[in-house]
């Protein structure tokens, strides 16, 4: 069953319109539709400027979309009042890319994780402290370090703090925007393993926004490929990687460097002029869609 459903989501940014320049509209997210099933990991992939992060932010209304619907458990969150939205965010949380800038440097790690509980007035002081210690253990941090500041933790540990904060309110849905791309290779694997463990333990549903296709192939159940604000292809991970249909998907997959010096290199270049921006998504096989004629 779909936990989250995005329908015809649109976000336009206006650019210019100053004294010397005419206004122009950037269609950052252009008629994007997809759904994420309960307990699933759904990945949005694409390169910079593809609109994948903006899509995620629109879903939590961290930026207001221009039009469209975001149904969470069947209700359109875009129609919620701000009070109602605040309550809804208990169930939908975000983990950010940069563990250095997404944590307040002047707050102790324990307070950072406790803050959502305070804001939503949950529990007594003692109950909250216990909950924070539990969350620390859950993400593999030592509760003895509750009083430390963010700079005293490594990048991987900081990302665990961000994760503990996101989990504080027991959400069912987490949007993880490039959660490991700022981390060293040997640390990335630790955080990915933790994300997969937590999903099993807590029954979480993930929207995973990433540019690293090796990673996406490893953890996602289904993948949507975004290009210039649109989803150009979407399908079950193995099917999409094994049988890509859209010219952009093929170019993107062929550009990933193989970690084997003897692997054959067969780059496919994208001829952007051949991409029909208006082509609708067409079903290729069960659950596999591509914007091809």
């Amino acid at each position: 069953m779909a936990l989250v459903e995005v329908r015809n989501l649109v976000k336009h940014f206006t650019r210019g319109g100053g004294l010397f320049s005419a206004k122009s509209v950037v269609r950052a997210v252009d008629q994007v539709s997809f759904s994420v099933d309960e307990g699933e990991t759904f990945a949005l992939v694409g390169e910079s400027g593809s609109g994948k992060s903006t899509t995620g932010r629109c879903m939590l209304r961290l930026v207001e979309p221009t039009s469209g619907e975001v149904l969470f458990r069947g209700e359109n969150v875009l129609g919620f009042s701000s009070a109602r939205m605040r309550a809804a965010r208990r169930d939908m949380q975000m983990v950010f890319q940069d563990p250095y800038s997404s944590l307040n440097p002047r707050m102790r790690a324990g307070t950072i994780v406790e803050e959502p509980l305070i804001i939503h007035a949950i529990g007594t002081r003692t109950e909250r402290k216990d909950r924070v210690a539990d969350l620390f253990r859950l993400v593999g941090l030592d509760p003895a370090h509750l009083d430390r500041y963010p700079h005293e933790f490594s990048g991987g540990q900081r990302q665990r703090i961000g994760l503990a904060r996101a989990l504080a309110l027991n959400p069912s849905f987490i949007i993880a925007d490039e959660p490991v791309s700022a981390l060293d290779v040997s640390i990335q694997a630790q955080v990915i393993n933790l994300l997969m463990d937590l999903q099993q333990q807590l029954g979480l549903t993930y929207l995973f926004i990433a540019h690293d296709l090796r990673l996406v192939r490893h953890i996602a159940d289904r993948v949507a490929v975004m290009y210039l604000g649109k989803i150009v292809e979407m399908g079950p991970t193995a099917e999409l990687f094994g049988n890509p249909q859209h010219a952009y998907t093929r170019a993107l997959l062929s550009a990933v460097p193989a970690t084997d010096p003897d692997a054959p290199r067969a780059r496919i270049e994208l001829d952007a002029t051949l991409v029909d921006r208006e082509a609708p998504l067409r079903q290729i096989s069960d659950g596999h869609f591509a914007a091809v004629q």
């Binding site: 060293d184 290779v185 040997s186 540019h211 490893h218 953890i219 170019a251 460097p257 010096p261 692997a263």
Partner: protein, 324 residues
């Protein structure tokens, strides 16, 4: 034949409080004519400081504390500063990770290249402009006659990196050091830049020191690989030796942590974190994270053990007589 570049026992120290930090520790490697050496490591491993040490551009409070760097038969460490300036650019070209930070925002593209040509007395004026256009064409920038008058902000990230290549190649240096040249780029642009690097290497008869944290980039581009950890080279060998027969537990761990196995399976993470150079563990710096460690690992720094002429690793497990 003499290697083009021979780095021996290089040691770079940062004089910080409370105690000096050794960022590059006893590093030795060679680059032969026409070869690409990939220097791979995580943040803080010392790979970039190694590169800056070679061209003697380590910033205060850093200083080169020992070792020799022989380039084309000359020891760069003993050169005067004006001689060293000649080596930078004319002998060794440089490509950095952030082209936007390396380019002057108020200087046109052509002026950047012309400046390099003028400083090294190659050409100036109209001739330099023509040369700049020729170089832009060589790095596959379309419409170079127009692009030469663009400012850096008018170019995409990939184009800027091509401009960086053109500047690096302006004086036809035999060696180019590329420090994370594709890290800030999208994967399709990265593929184009890597291809350009390979083409340039052939067309300009270059040797390349390629510094990166991305093992995929290394696998595609390098002939030989040196793996750095906490300031030391822990393993080096041909690209096939490193990828198909890695000997150091750190190299093995790095390769295993790349997603690629069965979807949904657990990744083989290296436990723990990259050590702080200011408080390195005793003995082998990797030993606290190593699942194969034995008693001696926390006591003595392992010497390099050569498995054969091209493949060596610093690990006690390889020393005859030790057992896991």
């Amino acid at each position: 034949m003499e290697p083009l570049l021979k780095v021996e026992n290089l040691r770079t120290v940062f004089d910080v409080k409370p105690a000096p930090v050794v960022a590059v520790n006893d590093v030795s490697f060679e680059i032969r004519q026409g070869e690409t050496l990939g220097l791979v490591g995580e943040s803080g491993s010392g790979k970039s400081v190694t590169a800056f040490s070679i061209i003697r551009l380590v910033q205060e409070p850093g200083r080169i504390a020992g070792g020799t760097v022989i380039f084309q038969g000359r020891d760069l460490m003993s050169l005067r500063e004006d001689e060293m300036r000649e080596v930078r650019g004319a002998g060794i070209g440089f490509v950095f990770q952030e082209p936007m930070a390396a380019l002057n925002p108020v200087m046109r593209i052509g002026a950047h290249i012309a400046e390099a040509l003028k400083v090294h007395g190659v050409s100036s004026g109209k001739a330099a402009r023509d040369k700049a256009i020729e170089l832009l064409r060589a790095v596959r920038i379309t419409d170079p006659e127009r692009r030469v008058d663009d400012y850096p902000h008018q170019l995409s990230g990939g184009m800027r990196q091509r401009v960086m290549m053109a500047i690096a190649l302006a004086c036809r240096p035999p060696l180019v050091i590329a420090d994370e040249p594709t890290t800030a780029l999208d994967v399709t642009v990265q593929a184009q830049i890597l291809e350009l690097l390979r083409d340039m290497k052939r067309e300009f008869d270059l040797s390349l020191l390629l510094i990166t944290h991305d093992l995929g980039v290394i696998a595609e581009t390098a002939d030989r690989v040196a793996v750095m950890y906490a300031g030391r080279i822990v393993e080096q060998g041909t690209v096939r030796e490193i990828f198909h027969n890695p000997k150091h537990p750190y190299t093995r761990g790095l390769l295993a942590s790349i997603p690629g196995g069965g979807a949904g399976s657990r990744l083989q993470a290296i436990e723990g974190t990259v050590p702080n150079l200011a408080s390195l563990p005793r003995g082998c710096a990797f030993s606290p994270r190593c699942s194969d460690r034995i008693d001696i690992c926390s006591e003595a720094v392992p010497a390099e053990f050569m498995l054969d002429a091209s493949h060596g690793a610093r690990c006690h497990l390889l020393t005859p007589g030790s057992k896991a």
